[in-house]
């Protein structure tokens, strides 16, 4: 059973942070969608290695970590396009 509490709070924290990620025209650095795909893989591997932290029984992944990352991506896509 997956608990809704950490999913919702993690998403909200990630969403708040994701809205602040904006491409800066003054900077020459450019982070395309492939960076986020790579980050998603890293986060999933990290969540698997962490295990069901901090609830220990509900799933094989750390739900809060994944929901925070999803929140960051959604926040970036909705308000962080610059």
């Amino acid at each position: 059973m997956v608990y809704i509490g950490p999913l919702v709070l993690g998403f909200i924290i990630g969403f708040i942070l994701g809205t602040r990620i904006k491409p800066n025209p003054e900077s020459k650095m450019y982070f395309p969608a492939s960076v986020y795909v790579l980050l998603a893989i890293v986060v999933i591997v990290m969540a698997y290695q962490l295990g069901p932290f901090p609830f220990y029984t509900d799933s094989i992944l750390a739900n809060g970590l994944i929901s925070a990352f999803v929140g960051i991506v959604v926040g970036k896509l909705t308000f962080g396009r610059g």
Binding site: L9, L17, N24, V42, T57, G64
Partner: protein, 157 residues
């Protein structure tokens, strides 16, 4: 900063922020909590600020955003405290747990945190404290990094 560091810093910052969020979420049953998680999120933001500079960082916190988030954190904390005060007479009474069985069940259900521990308002307090801390620590570094601009502006005036 070197190009390799610039390529690495932003993705690492995102991972820091995700892990900080996870630390906030586990605050009621594990070592960590709002302050520690907020500090980890601030570390991610500060990492980008130091590597890219305050003008070119991809994670840009504006003054209004920081003021709003800090206020939301403070007001959320006060709200949770006052909810306990008005319902039971005790400031910050844990309405979601209700150890003394003095709160109506419908109010307990509102403040109950849906996880196996049912920690009541503690995770929500961690959340609002995390918001305040991430903004507070980031604001200190942003202020230091912008001090040159501030000094030049004061000198020109």
């Amino acid at each position: 900063m070197s190009t390799i560091l610039k390529l690495f810093a932003f993705p690492a910052s995102v991972v820091f922020m995700c892990y900080g969020a996870l630390t906030i979420l586990g605050g009621h049953i594990t070592p960590g909590g709002g302050f520690q998680g907020g500090a980890m999120i601030a570390a991610g933001i500060i990492f980008s600020l130091v590597v890219y500079g305050v003008d070119k960082t991809p994670i840009k916190l504006s003054h209004n955003f920081m003021a709003s988030l800090e206020s939301i954190g403070a007001i959320g904390y006060i709200f949770l405290g006052l909810a306990g005060l008005f319902t039971t007479g005790f400031f910050l009474y844990n309405l979601g747990v209700d150890l003394y069985h003095i709160v109506p069940p419908n109010i307990v259900n509102i403040f109950d945190y849906p996880d196996p521990i049912h920690a009541g308002i503690i995770p929500y307090l961690n959340f609002v404290v995390g918001l305040k801390v991430l903004v507070g620590l980031s604001a200190v570094v942003i202020t230091f990094l912008e001090s040159d601009k501030l000094i030049k502006k004061m000198e020109s005036n």
